[in-house]
Subunit: 435 residues, 2 copies
């Protein structure tokens, strides 16, 4: 996650430079807009402005290196440290997003509104973290007599905790403040959905193997850097109304470069068991020797083209890559074309509240959310893509048979057999053992 | 679901009467409030008021019977009809909740805001209905070559559909309207969460067996009727600030009566296979003869007390009930003490928008949401309670088949089949379907 921090730091510098670099080129595109009252420096900088900027640049650079160092330290120290970083980031982001809408609750004498927001966060995190722990560490939990009911009743317990907050919320509704209270409720739920639920999937990626966390995070960072570089080099055409500084050329150029980078980074990562093996316990670190059966996507294959007309007869083209490097092209495409919309969404949100940053959590950088906006959506994409197209679900035939014998009625057993025969017939397969 | 309709009809009449009945008693409790500008009839009714009320009463009563008849017709016609009713109800409720916040989108020239709300609904329903169909009917879907990828990639496809809408939303952000557009976004997500996701669990209850749908719906209706009866009979002490007409006495009295009713209704329902058996196909109706291994909670047991000091030595108390009747006490408690907060929530929401009803979907009754507010939360409770404490983990044949198709090699599949045949031969069992 700190990879995202590291990204953040790069990006913000890039953004900052691009603010200066693009100002001249894009001025004609940006017109004064009623809501766009974000305070900005006057065009001609005075000396004291220069001094301020210099001081800010030093603070910013210092914290950039702190974050990069912290991120890589956590990455190599082990899964549990990366999880802790993600947890911190999502709590800080939630705090920032909640804060911008909670203006005036003290004046309204509704102090508990704030406490209630934290209660919703705690409930959501209890539910989500519990889900992950139950899923990945069930073999540990089920053995413990105290933890077992927490595991088997996890969803019901989470529901009860939520309902307790719901009843409290309704009981605390105050005529005269209803609009405010209900918009707080809706706002908090949106924040939980967009920040915490998506961050939860990033956590699952960590447990599946650090590459599933590191690769998407790195792709988003890389894309941002290249969008800046390509933008100032070739940028001419405005991309969306909301951000006059984004250009089509920067968008497309960064896409191509991110794909190249993604294929290269994947090549590097897939030789490290520390990155490709799932977490079997939380004490793993890079110092330990980890072994696992690698997922087939990490094993290079040779892809051969058909005979093309432009080649001499009998010649074909062939390339040897790991299938994951091909998947990396898709991931890079998502990181380049879709994930930036997470950032545009955040920009729009800031603008609608007339603020420049979500907060001041990182000295010289602004809020945590400003650094993370594209990462949440990317993490969720990575999770679903991994689960759908990459995860190998190796079941043991003995386990399947055990489920059938102990858990299905005779009729259901027969039903499964018949369906299996249908599927074979449909696919034109007839295993020798059966015929 | 129409049970909820039926309920709604009772309740609204009850509410209406109680408005008149309680007015005198509770006047001292309710004081003028800035937001409480709901139009209400003047204390002294004129003749034309009386005529209006009479006309309204006739319309209301007519539609009450239409809804009750429709509900029971669907209930006996089969699961698929009940599912259709739930679907209609959640779409109408969503429409109503969205409409109250979407005022002014036409004036702002943001016509697509409305379309986008419907797009979110369609996405959510595709995702949720797909989840249910994949879970309960996987054994049918996996056999079909066209449907199979829709099943195995369901979550990823849903994510892509959602992301498409998200990108569109961001692309359509318009400076000057950002606050409006973002609050629409948050509002719609809250509505989806509170209405459609909760209604989805009601649908799952239907597939698990009609009792899991009918019992919670009936408990909420009953509670509402008894809250009215007990309220006008003993009501004195105000319950919450928001609803001056609710009394502690009505609340507690209804709780006791709902428990009695719940135990009785369970006793009646558990003798019907149509209610207690899960849906194995969607063509089931009450006319068919359905068989299943009943869940152990439906089989009466004798509970014997220890020897109490007040009994002659050697004597004990014993009672024979189905465990489900004991569970029904818990469900009745939830329906009485917690579910009403769903209604209070809806009341507060209406009041904050200065409206009396969510809409006019049901002639004489107001909006669908007014009739359903307590049902959603009850349905979700019933689902989680059932899954946590009652469901017998009979493996689902679809899940086993899915494991075989996606997780085993062809040889291993054949191995499982052969072993199954061996086990049948050993046990002298030959399912008719196979031979």
């Amino acid at each position: 996650m700190a990879g995202k921090l590291g990204w953040g730091t790069f990006v913000s510098q890039a953004d900052k430079k691009s603010e200066n670099g693009h100002e001249q080129g894009s001025k004609s595109l940006s017109k004064p807009e009623p809501e766009a009252t974000i305070p900005s420096a006057p065009p001609q900088s005075t000396v004291s402005d220069y001094e301020k900027k210099k001081a800010n640049f030093i603070v910013r650079t210092f914290w950039t290196f702190v974050m990069i160092a912290g991120f890589f330290a956590a990455l190599f120290a082990g899964h549990i440290y990366v999880v802790l970083i993600i947890t911190t980031i999502q709590i800080v982001s939630f705090k920032e997003v909640i804060a911008i809408a909670n203006v005036g609750s003290r004046a309204r004498d509704l102090r508990f509104t704030k406490s209630l927001n934290w209660y919703w966060l705690a409930t959501t995190m209890y539910f989500l973290y519990g889900e992950s722990v139950v899923y990945y560490f069930r073999h540990i939990i089920l053995v413990d007599k105290v933890l077992q009911p927490l595991s088997t009743h996890h969803r019901f317990i989470s529901f009860c905790i939520y309902i307790f907050g719901f009843v409290f919320f309704v009981g605390a509704l105050k005529p005269g403040h209803l609009r405010f209270q209900f918009s707080q409720f809706a706002w908090t739920h949106m924040a939980l959905f967009l920040i915490n639920i998506q961050a939860h999937f990033i956590m699952n990626n960590i447990f599946e193997g650090l590459i599933w966390f590191f690769l998407p995070a790195a792709l988003v960072i890389t894309n941002d850097i290249f969008a800046y570089i390509c933008g100032i080099t070739f940028g001419r055409t405005q991309l969306i109304k909301l951000s006059p500084k984004k250009t089509v050329e920067g968008f497309v150029g960064a896409w191509i470069m991110t794909m190249v980078f993604g294929v290269g980074l994947t090549h590097v990562l897939l030789s490290s068991n520390y990155f490709i093996c799932p977490a079997t316990n939380l004490a793993t670190s890079i110092l330990q020797d980890i072994h696992c059966e690698p997922n087939p996507v990490f094993i290079p294959r040779t892809y051969t083209s058909p005979e093309f007309f432009f080649l001499p007869p009998g010649y074909t083209l062939s390339v040897t890559v790991a299938p994951m490097q091909i998947h990396a092209l898709v991931w890079a495409t998502f990181a380049s074309l879709i994930a930036p919309f997470g950032g545009f969404f955040a920009s729009g949100l800031k603008r609608s509240f007339k603020i420049k940053d979500f907060g001041d959590s990182i000295p010289g950088h602004g809020g945590m959310t400003d650094r993370m906006d594209c990462q949440f959506i990317m993490g969720m994409f990575a999770f679903l893509y991994y689960q759908t197209f990459i995860a190998v679900r190796n079941y043991n035939p003995g386990a399947v048979l055990d489920m059938m014998v102990t858990g299905l009625s005779i009729d259901d057993q027969a039903h499964v057999l018949k369906s299996m025969l249908h599927i074979w017939a449909r696919d034109g397969v007839m295993p020798p053992a059966v015929s």
